[in-house]
Symmetry: none
Subunit: 401 residues, 2 copies
C-alpha cells in the first residue's frame, strides 16, 4: 500500500501552514524505577496546553524494535519509507555540508588518518586534528585531477571530510577502505557490483594523488574512505505534497536531510531562539516548516537525564512564539527516542502531538509517553504523520467516490 | 517492508538470554456478561508482578478477524510472516511426529478408511481404529516399493498416519483424494501444476500397493490422502536472529513447528514442571528458549472455563522458576485465543507481556486482556514480537546513520 502515491494524487493546495517541530531523540525512559521520563519530568506548560486541544500518540519511525539513526528517523517523519530510501553515509555527509548531490554523483565520507613510513595507519583519526588545521588540507585535495571525472572536496569537521566524484557510469557500491584497526595500510577500494568498478578505480586514483599532496604532513598524511554512496533518488516535497517547504536547523546533517527531500534551507540560526526568528521572518514565503532542535538528543547521548529535562523545557519555552504565528497544524515529535538511561538512540516509540482545529480531542491534559500510550493517534508508523498533517491542513481530497 | 530481512542485517550477538513462554490459546472471553476472561479470573500473582515491571499489549497473529491454527500462530510469534510461510498439513503432520523433512520431500497426511467390496468408502476414519491396531498397519506400508523414490511411513494417532515421498522432481501441489463423503471411492491424486505430475503418479502407485498390503483388514483396508505438501523453505533462527534456540514442549506438533524454523528440540518433558526442569538444565547452552504449554488451549477447546482458569494458574505458578534463571527478556504470550465460551480457536487478539530492564513501564499492575488493551506495546502484529524481544536483549544494531 503506497501511501505516498495516494497522497500525491489526492493533494490540493490552499493557504494553510504546517509546522513540524522535531526535538531530536525526544522519547526517553525513567531514570528511576517508577519515575517519569525526561519529557514527563520536564515542566512543559505550553506543550501540555497543546495536548489539551490536540491529539497524542506513539510513533514508530521504522518498526517495533528497530532503533533508527537520525537519517531514517527523519525520512519517516517526512513521509518517506525509511527502509526503501536508506541513505548512505557518504550521501548524508555531503548533503550535511550543503553539497547538492546530482544523479551522476558518488559521495564518499572520508577521514584523515596518520600513516607511518611504511604506509601503515598509526592513528585512524589523525590525532583528532582540529578543524582549523584540517579544513585547508581538505581544500588542497581539490587539486586532484582525474580525466572524465569532476572532483569536489568539502571539509566537514576535524578529521572528517567528504569527496564527491561526478561522472558517467559511477555506481555507488564500493566497500570501505578503513581497515578498522591500526598497524596496517588503508584497504584498496573494492567494487561490490559491476556498475561500481569505475568508481573503485577513480577512488584509488584519488587516494594516490592525495597521498602525494599530503606527503610530509605531521598528522593528516593519509585518508580512509568510510562510506560510498550514490545520490539517493527521492521525490521532492513539492511533488509529493504540493508544499513549499522550509527547513530551519542549526546542524548541517539535518539541513542535508531536508535538502534531500527538496526542502529549502532557510537562515543560518545558531540557536533555538534564532531558529524561531528565522521561522517568523520566513513565515509568509512557505507552507511547511521543519524546525529541528538537537540538544534533547545530545544530552540523552551524554546520559544526562537532568540536562535533557532542561533541554525539553527550553524547547517548550518557544512554543508560544510558534503558536502566535497561527499555524493551521502544529506537530511536535522526534526522530527516535534517546533515553539518558541508555545514553544512545533506542527503539522505544516517540511521543507525538498534533494540534489543529480539526482534531478530535482525546481527553489528555499533558504531553508525555504515558499519556501518548492512550492517545487519539494510537500507536502508528512514522510515515503516516505527514498524511495526517496534510489532512488536518485540508490539503488532501477525498479518495474515491 | 521485510522486517525479517532488516533484523537479519542488524543482528548482533551477546550474552543475553530470551525466554518465550507460550500458553497455547491464552486469550479468552468472559463466560458471563461483564465478567472476567479466563486470564483475568485466574489468580496470577507472578504474571501480575511481571506486568508491573514490563509492558503489555494485544497481539494479532495474522490480522484482525483471522482465526489462526497453531501453525500460523506460532510462526508469527517466531517472526515469520504466517501467510507467506503457510505450512501444509502434510508437512505439519510429518514434523509433528519428529520426521525431519528435506528439500526433496513431499509429506502426505493420510487417513485409514474402510472400503466395501466395490471399493467405495463406508467409513472415512476406519471406525476410529485405535492406535494400537493402526500403528502396525502404518508400519506395514513401508513395504511399498517405487523406483526412484524413497518411501517413509509414520503412524500418528488412531486413523492418522503420514507418508513422506523423497525423490527428484516431486512438487507438492496435489489435490486431496478424500471425497469428503461415503458411498464413493477415494479420488485419484490429481496434480495442480506441472511440477507435481510425478508426485501424483507416485501417490497413485503408493495407493495401489497399499490396498494390496491392507487387503482383508476389517477396518483399515483403504486410505485417503488429505494434505500434500513439499517441505517448507524457511530461514533458520540462527540465520535470522543469530540465536542458538531451544524448544521445550510436550506435544509433537510444537516440537515439529520449532524444528521447522531451526530450533533444537531439547528434553522429553511430560509436564510443565518437567519442561522447566529441562529449561534449567539447558540454560547455559542456548540463547533463546521457546517453552510451550498446551492445556490452556485444550481446556478452552473443551469449553471448560473453570478448568482453563486452573491451567492459567498452573502456568503462573512456574514463572518464579523462570525469572530465577535471570533471563534478559521474558515474553509471555499465546499463539491465538481459545475462549472456553466458543470452545475453539478465535480471532480475538492475544494478551502479551514483555519484561526486561529496558522496558518503558506502562503503569499497569496486572496481566489480562483488559489491561493489555491500554498497554505500552499497543495492538501489534505477531511478527513484531521477536524484533522487540531482540531489541530489549540488545541484539539489534542501529538502522542507518
Amino acid at each position: 500500500m503506497d501511501i505516498q502515491r495516494l497522497v500525491r494524487e489526492l493533494k490540493v493546495t490552499n493557504n494553510s501552514k504546517i509546522v513540524m517541530l522535531v526535538a531530536d531523540g525526544l522519547g526517553g525512559l525513567p531514570i528511576e524505577p517508577g519515575g517519569p521520563t525526561e519529557l514527563e519530568a520536564a515542566k512543559t506548560p505550553n506543550l501540555d496546553n497543546l495536548a489539551k486541544r490536540g491529539v497524542q500518540g506513539l510513533l514508530y519511525p521504522v518498526a517495533p524494535g528497530i532503533t533508527p539513526g537520525s537519517g531514517p528517523g527523519h525520512l519517516s517523519l517526512f513521509g518517506y519509507d525509511p527502509i526503501q530510501h536508506l541513505i548512505g553515509r557518504g550521501a548524508l555527509e555531503a548533503t550535511g555540508v550543503g553539497f547538492k548531490l546530482g544523479p551522476k554523483d558518488v559521495a564518499i565520507r572520508c577521514n584523515f588518518c596518520t600513516l607511518d613510513a611504511q604506509g601503515n595507519i598509526t592513528d585512524r583519526r589523525a590525532g583528532r586534528i582540529p578543524s582549523e588545521e584540517s579544513a585547508p588540507l581538505a581544500i588542497s585535495l581539490r587539486k586532484v585531477r582525474i580525466p572524465g571525472v569532476e572532483v569536489f572536496v568539502e571539509p566537514v569537521k576535524e578529521h572528517r571530510f567528504v569527496v564527491v566524484l561526478r561522472g558517467e557510469g559511477l555506481g555507488g557500491n564500493v566497500a570501505d577502505t578503513d581497515p578498522q584497526k591500526t598497524g596496517v595500510p588503508p584497504l584498496d577500494p573494492v567494487a561490490h557490483d559491476a556498475a561500481s568498478g569505475r568508481t573503485a578505480q577513480v577512488a584509488k586514483e584519488f587516494f594516490l594523488q592525495a597521498l602525494k599532496i599530503l606527503a610530509g604532513q605531521p598528522k593528516a598524511n593519509g585518508l580512509t574512505m568510510r562510506g560510498f554512496s550514490a545520490a539517493p533518488v527521492i521525490s521532492s516535497y513539492e511533488d509529493v505534497y504540493g508544499l513549499r517547504a522550509a527547513a530551519i536547523a542549526v546542524y548541517p546533517m539535518y539541513k542535508g536531510l531536508a535538502q534531500l527531500v527538496g526542502m529549502t534551507v532557510v537562515g543560518k540560526p545558531g540557536s533555538l531562539s534564532e531558529e524561531i526568528d528565522v521561522l517568523e521572518q520566513a513565515w509568509n514565503d512557505y507552507d511547511f516548516f521543519f524546525v529541528h532542535f538537537k540538544y534533547t538528543d545530545s544530552r540523552g547521548e551524554d546520559g544526562n537525564f537532568a540536562e535533557k529535562v532542561r533541554m525539553v523545557e527550553q524547547f517548550d519555552a518557544i512554543v508560544p512564539r510558534v503558536t502566535a504565528l497561527g499555524p493551521t497544524v502544529l506537530v511536535v515529535t522526534g526522530d527516535h527516542s534517546t533515553p539518558a538511561r541508555l545514553a544512545g538512540h533506542s527503539w522505544h516509540p516517540v511521543p507525538t502531538l498534533l494540534a489543529a482545529d480539526t482534531c478530535r480531542p482525546d481527553g489528555l491534559t499533558a504531553f508525555g509517553e504515558k499519556y501518548a500510550t492512550c492517545g487519539g493517534l494510537g500507536h502508528f508508523a512514522g510515515v503516516n504523520l505527514m498524511p495526517l498533517a496534510m489532512a488536518h491542513a485540508g490539503r488532501l481530497g477525498k479518495f474515491g467516490a
